[in-house]
Amino acid sequence: MDSSPQPRLPLPDSRAADPAAQRDADIELLLGRGEADAAFALIAMRYESKVYRLCYALLRNPEAAQDAAQESLLRVWRALPRFDGRAALSTWIYAITRNRCLTALAQASANLSLTDEAVLAEAEAIPTPSRDVDTAALLRQLVAALPPTPSRVVTLYYFEERALAEVAQMLGLPEGTVKTHLFRARAALLGQLASLGLADPELWIK
């Protein structure tokens, strides 16, 4: 791996105040010194789990998420000597990850046959509600059935333990947009639960 340092721009004021930029200042310092291997070791430690969770939220499949996460981190490693600091390191890593996942989704949908669609539709059918329904499984199905962006927002919001700023960065969305999606998704979920006869909050947590 070519470890010759790239010219680094001075950190703009907006980035200097960014918590993510401050968190990764040690990594950027190593990159500035041309120590790409040491920088990647820190990146792997700090971002492996986050990248995996982002892939999981986008792809909804553990095996596909693992492949996409590894491929994304491999691409980060290859491109690391060329990182010039114009964007925050986390923003850059998440953008690479999202692009990889979107490519995987496009390939998967291209390979999908009518037979597969029918099987998936049956597998994702909401079960007939009853008081014994597994609410957690039902909620996961309802969230997965939301439109793609709200579904990903809700999933990541809870994966990241309600860290709104982190979710916004992972999805490349403004925080206000993330809040709006959360608000609307909750309203949609409440409506669906009510339509399934599960309006009573006591049924949701067992």
Partner: protein, 140 residues
């Protein structure tokens, strides 16, 4: 690090949103990184590094072969040039001797045979020294 959840502040149904929030948190627990993920990633990186080094080594070996071929070709050309130079020089000297020796012998009073032998010897020595110096310079 968790930011304060302000998305509930404008919620018209806070009495159900709180329980829904807790239910979703329970249903959407963060997935753990699969076992062996890091080791597998580092193994892929190590393999890519090795492949890159092998490709670099092969490229260097090809370049080395190319330079050796160029060097040998240059040496052969130099030897051919030297030989041609010696032959041409000898011919020229022979022609000059054939034309100039009789006049020189008459002018100096020395017989042609002696004069010819001395001149041939001197020329041969000069040609040999030139050839050796050229070979020595080109072969370092």
């Amino acid at each position: 690090m968790s930011d304060t959840d302000t998305s509930l502040d404008e919620d018209p149904n806070p009495e159900v949103s709180g329980p829904l929030d807790r239910a979703l948190a329970a249903a959407l627990r963060k997935p753990e990184l699969p076992a062996g993920f890091h080791a597998s990633l580092m193994a892929q990186i190590a393999l890519e590094c090795a492949t890159e080094r092998e490709a670099q080594r092969a490229a260097l070996a090809r370049e080395h072969e190319r330079q050796l071929r160029d060097l040998r070709r240059g040496y052969l050309n130099m030897r051919q040039d030297t030989l041609l130079t010696v032959v041409a020089g000898a011919f020229t000297c022979g022609a000059a001797a054939a034309v100039g020796l009789p006049a020189l012998a008459q002018w100096t009073g020395v017989d042609m045979l002696s004069l010819g032998v001395w001149m041939a010897g001197g020329l041969a020595l000069a040609a040999a020294v030139t050839a050796v110096r050229q070979n020595t310079r080109l072969l370092g």
